[in-house]
Amino acid sequence: MTTTTYREAVRTALREALTRDSRTFLMGEDVGRYGGTYACSKGLIDEFGPERVRDAPLSESAFVGAGIGAAMAGMRPIVEIMTVNFSLLALDQIVNNAATLRHMSGGQFSVPLVIRMATGAGRQVAAQHSHSLECWYAHIPGIRVLAPGTLEDARGMLWTALQDPDPVVIFEHAALYNMEGELPDTAGPVDIERAAVRRPGRDVTLIAFGANLHKAMEAARLLAAEKIEAEVIDLRSLRPLDDATIMASVRKTRRAVVIDEAWRTGSLAAEVSARVMEQAFYDLDAPVGRVCTEEVPIPYPKHLEDAALPQPEKIVAAVKAQLGARA
């Protein structure tokens, strides 16, 4: 076991990828000389050189598109978009090219590209820097969407994603980079198919991903103090969703609350909730609950930002509302 951080785990994964596969290169804004906006790639330019740790100009559409082209021509690029906020300038390339080329070419071309980006709010950086748009990407057939919420996944998802012949988008919540924990020395690639039960419980299922996994875990601790045992599911893969793991848990606990940092309207929480209704309706003792971000652009002041985002207390309240509905 080694004590490490999420950031270090990402860096180790990048180093592994660059070491193991000569077709792999990292490309994005300030990944090289600056060391990565969140310092994930710090030092890698010295190890692998500026060709393979490649600084790109402020041209999100161009360098994401270049990543797609390079992937089609035999490389295994890892494109870093500084944050999801700026990925909007590359949305055309991701949605109209990366996600469609295989299909539109009748299976002749695939795009083995990995795109990583930071996401999320909670750092008082105001509306344009605080988006959680994972659900936009999870809406698109043709791309796989991952949300590593633990050190193991930060360390292990990248290599597996690189083995995927199709585009994979990995969301790293910016609030997680400093998260510390233990990682086994043998830690390596992990599966990217399944959701994971992070805490077993019998009374209610909390479904979350990314940084909100930890808010759900905190809520579960608060509930345990009141003798309510929550099971916590980490979605891990946002597209495709692992229905089997979700339904198995909901059938057992008969209640579910979905936690999602996106705005409620049109969120992944809405999708998960609909699936539970479709597949486990008769096993439910209460309507599925949701804890999402309030419908407001994220405000700068801390007290308003905190009020806008999902919080453990809000999750606890949503669970209690469920139990209140117990027949």
Binding site: E29, G35, L58, S59, Q124, A126, P297
Partner: protein, 337 residues
Amino acid sequence: MTARADKVHLGREHLIGLLRQMLLIRRFEERCVELYSAGKIRGFLHLYIGEEANAVGVMQALGPEDAIVSTYREHGHALARGVSARAIMAEMYGKVEGTSRGRGGSMHIFDAATRFYGGNAIVAGGLPLAVGLALADKMQGRNRVTACIFGDGAAAEGEFHESLNLAALWKLPVLFVCENNYYAMGTALARAQSQTDLARHAESYAMPAEAVDGMDVVAVEVAAHRAVAAVRQDGGPYFLENRTYRFRAHSMFDPELYRGKAEVEEWKKKDPIPRLETWLTEAGLLHADDLPRMEEAISAEIEDAVAFAEAGHWEPVEDLARDVTTPPGRPEREAAA
């Protein structure tokens, strides 16, 4: 210091005013650094220290009817435009008394009264907005200029190229001001651009363009007057590339791995503030006690702004969903209907 005054009247009072404005911006931001360390200002904070001559020089050429579109590095632009230091400081605190009711913070200063259309924190995100503001002026027959300020990094974005083309194609009254400080975060201009002479990009869209010494406030003012006069007369856009330098890190989170201290020290020799001071002193225009008096007045203005921000209020959480859409009964809504 270029004393080429062209048609600009550079009397003593005016020059002292330029110095005072640059000093105000410098001291205001130095105070912001302290307040950041004290946890009073949070989030991203991008300092303009070293670049003050650009905001101050450009604003001299604009009238109250003109508009400004800026970036997240906009404290200097807002102060030089005459946005109240009190309201700016309160915004950085996140208080309701701030320019944007505290909702935006350091990067999102908006002020309708001075036609200051914000700090935009998406690189190049403001350029299309400026084109639209100018389009509206043209369509409504108003002789106004929209000054659009952005960095060298923005020149790599598609929105930069699309906006320059549109403004030139439709002959729109936009003054593009590229504050080229030679870095976009840690990426040096030469690592981002095949053509580092940014004015030439603008020329390729068939608009007049010139590069100016952005460490010389008088040179900037002279160029800005020339540019604004051309925009007012021809109705079409004009491009200024102000060559400047930021003395501080990109933001409070930047360990500055990408440049050496020697380079920064070299640029500090061109610091626009001592440069104007020296020039004024040598010309006999600045007297021994002028500077201390000025510093004292500025310090009082800043401390007043800090006190105002400290005394400001936190918006009640019940108002969280406020200002997401226009409420019924507001004149904007009636006008749209």
